[in-house]
Symmetry: C2
Subunit: 426 residues, 2 copies
């Protein structure tokens, strides 16, 4: 297809008329589709149904004989710590298994940092006049919401396929003591699918930071959520931090929300034994302990790390056709037109599209008016402000394949219409 | 039996020799007993085993059709809100169903208060030079730990069978703006078994407070945990607050930890619709939502409030003999000796013993040396400091009946020994 930027105004108007016909045709079908959220679909959730029976009137004791129905235990049952420490590639004493939401663990880690600091010898962040956080963007809105809620200034940092721009980061953290940390989704990043390169991991772990209480919030949400035949490999950040002499620099998070049940899964956090010992001491004040029965359910269902991997292959089989469909429609409708670029994720839950500058909000609005709900424009940036108004996040996991195709057809029509509007306006 | 205080030194020494024989006899049996914690026993936990099957490969949808396995919902599934709003005697819009730990909800409410204040128009408690909390004592150690952790000064307030001393409380809160709240376990209080009278509830709800952001933390942990045939009735604090024109004054907490599974239950908080709306807004930043499947399990198991009440009658049948045994041993061994008083709880999980001043720590130590572990002396007071060193908390729920009897026999021997030591020393 022709590069839109090589077309003259007349050609663009002709094209627009054709696209408007298609747009109104779609709209008249009265379809309502929602590709806003990275939710597993029913077929994925069905894969773990058997887990519900793994704890029952006979099976409720942990391997050390503890009654999973009673009080006791703060940081997870031993077999869950064993299994998920392998999952996060840390030692069992470096992990805490919490409740059902890793966002909860991240939020609580921030609140503790605000009130108590991140170590015994560093000040509560809330006592400092100003603190800032680095936010590789586009990124995950719920991360940014936590910072906004707590009055933490967010600094967007560009991210590419190998991770955030390290030159920029290193320059900033070496100078500014008020920069206390960075949000990272290091594998199959939300929404771009970026996988942090070994170099990025090493540089994050070893860079000189002015703030001795600088922390990496490493949200490894998609550790085993592959779409490609050959899973991407992520360098172990905790090992890298230890090797660089900064063992306390990283807090790692993960969950089974997109492995077993979203909301009925397990969340976990990991870090140096010293960091985890301090967190354990602090959560003594917070909770009587996690739901051990749900931990037991998970371990009995998966048995070992191979069990998780095999299970995730079944997820891949369900998700891959949907992600392939997104790529095929984008390729067919937009390639060669020089109006959009998009990610080709090898895992995770999203496809990220960058339109021409100033077009994303228009695309989202046009799509909504025709019945297709997209993640609000700007959501993937701090303060919900996409400075170039160009990023669109596509979440194809939940709807049926046919709906994904239809929705993407419309999205492509809307991207073209918004681009033509921009080109004829400029 | 004789009043110890009427005995002369020689008589006391003779008695001591006899008691020491019994003490060493007990010790030589090499028994190890633990009556430290209010844990349900296995038989109680067995009562809810059937619940584990209530969510299964066919049953995972809420009554409005929501897939309980997926994301969605922040404040509880509708049927859980309906059931447990009846349990806490509030409206469905006045309740939030959380995860598994009410301590967690209380802790988080404190952390939010520290960072964000308890209302839109009041300052973060953490920004104030000093804040204080009223702590009816003896009380629950985990409440006091939260205050201590956050640097909140605790003011112990005497508690009697009808609740805390209201004259004292009213005088303090009317004058001191730094007093921001009070901890209450209003029904079958931990450890004294106190049930707040209607008058106490009304006075708490209506008293004039200098701090407009004063909050009652109403931990109704034992709402249906009766031991007597006729359950005690607790006046509705939220209604009383509304009637007094202070609808935002109270945060109510509860859980099913001692109804279904300790650690695998549901926790909930309640309060005015305005308070709950603000909390809901704040937990948007904290979590992707509670474990809906466990909520569904509970509702399917109990069906309605009658289901909970019937279930609790089965608990009573298991617990009452243990509590009766405690009373019988105390009565037989200590009555008339004028060295101890104890509670006669009509519900809850504890018996509270007040020894002579300065004896509790000695009793706990003596018992430990003979193999019976008691809650550490002082635990029931702020800062772990029992000013009169006399309160001992007995938790008879977990051990088998015979062990409860044995443990109490030893406790009575130790109380007598410590009393004689004190009387012969003074």
């Amino acid at each position: 297809m022709s590069d839109f930027k090589s077309l003259d105004n007349q050609q663009l108007h002709q094209l627009k008329d054709k696209l408007l016909d298609q747009y109104h045709g779609f709209k008249s079908r009265g379809i309502t589709l929602d590709i806003t959220r990275g939710k597993p679909c029913s077929e994925q959730l069905d894969l773990a149904l058997e887990m519900l029976g793994c704890v029952n009137s006979k099976e409720y004791r942990t391997e050390d004989g503890t009654d999973g129905r009673n009080y006791g235990g703060l940081d997870g049952i031993p077999e869950a710590k064993k299994l998920f420490s392998r999952y996060l590639e840390v030692a069992p004493e470096e992990i805490i298994i919490g409740s059902n939401s890793s966002l909860n663990l991240m939020h609580d880690t921030f609140l503790r940092a605000m009130l108590k600091g991140v170590s015994e010898d560093s000040p509560p962040w809330g006592k400092l006049p100003k603190i800032k956080f680095l936010c590789p963007s586009p990124g995950y809105d719920r991360h940014f919401f936590i910072c906004d809620y707590l009055g933490i200034e967010m600094i967007p940092v560009e991210i590419n396929a190998a991770g955030p721009s390290m030159d920029l980061i290193e320059a900033m953290v070496a100078e500014d003591e008020s920069i206390k940390g960075i949000w990272c989704v290091p594998k199959y990043s939300n929404p771009t699918g970026a996988v942090y390169s070994d170099e990025v991991v090493d540089r994050l772990a070893s860079m000189h930071v002015k703030a001795s209480d600088f922390r990496i919030f490493w949200d490894n949400a998609y550790a085993v959520h592959h779409l490609a035949d050959k899973p991407a490999r992520l360098k172990n950040i905790l090992s890298a931090c230890k090797k660089a002499g900064n063992p306390e620099r990283v807090f790692i998070f993960g969950s089974t929300s997109k492995i077993t049940f979203a909301g009925g899964g397990l969340a976990m956090m990991a870090g140096s034994a010293k960091n985890m010992a301090r967190v354990k001491k602090q959560i003594t004040f917070q909770t009587i302990g996690p739901d051990k029965l749900n931990q037991l359910r998970h371990v009995k269902f998966f048995k070992n790390i191979k069990g998780i991997e095999d299970h995730m292959n079944k997820h891949t089989a369900i998700l891959k056709p949907k992600f392939d469909a997104v790529q095929r429609v984008l390729e067919k409708e937009l390639s060669g037109k020089n109006i959009a670029q998009w990610s080709h994720p090898a895992g995770g839950y999203f496809v990220s599209i960058d339109t021409m500058q100033g077009c994303a909000a228009a695309v989202v609005r046009l799509a909504a008016e025709a019945g297709v709900k997209l993640t609000p424009a700007g959501s993937t940036y701090p303060y919900m402000q996409d400075p170039l108004d160009r990023n669109i996040r596509i979440a194809p996991s939940f709807p049926p394949l046919e709906d994904v195709r239809s929705a993407m057809q419309l999205v492509c029509i809307c991207i073209q219409l918004a681009s033509i509007d921009k080109l004829t306006r400029d």
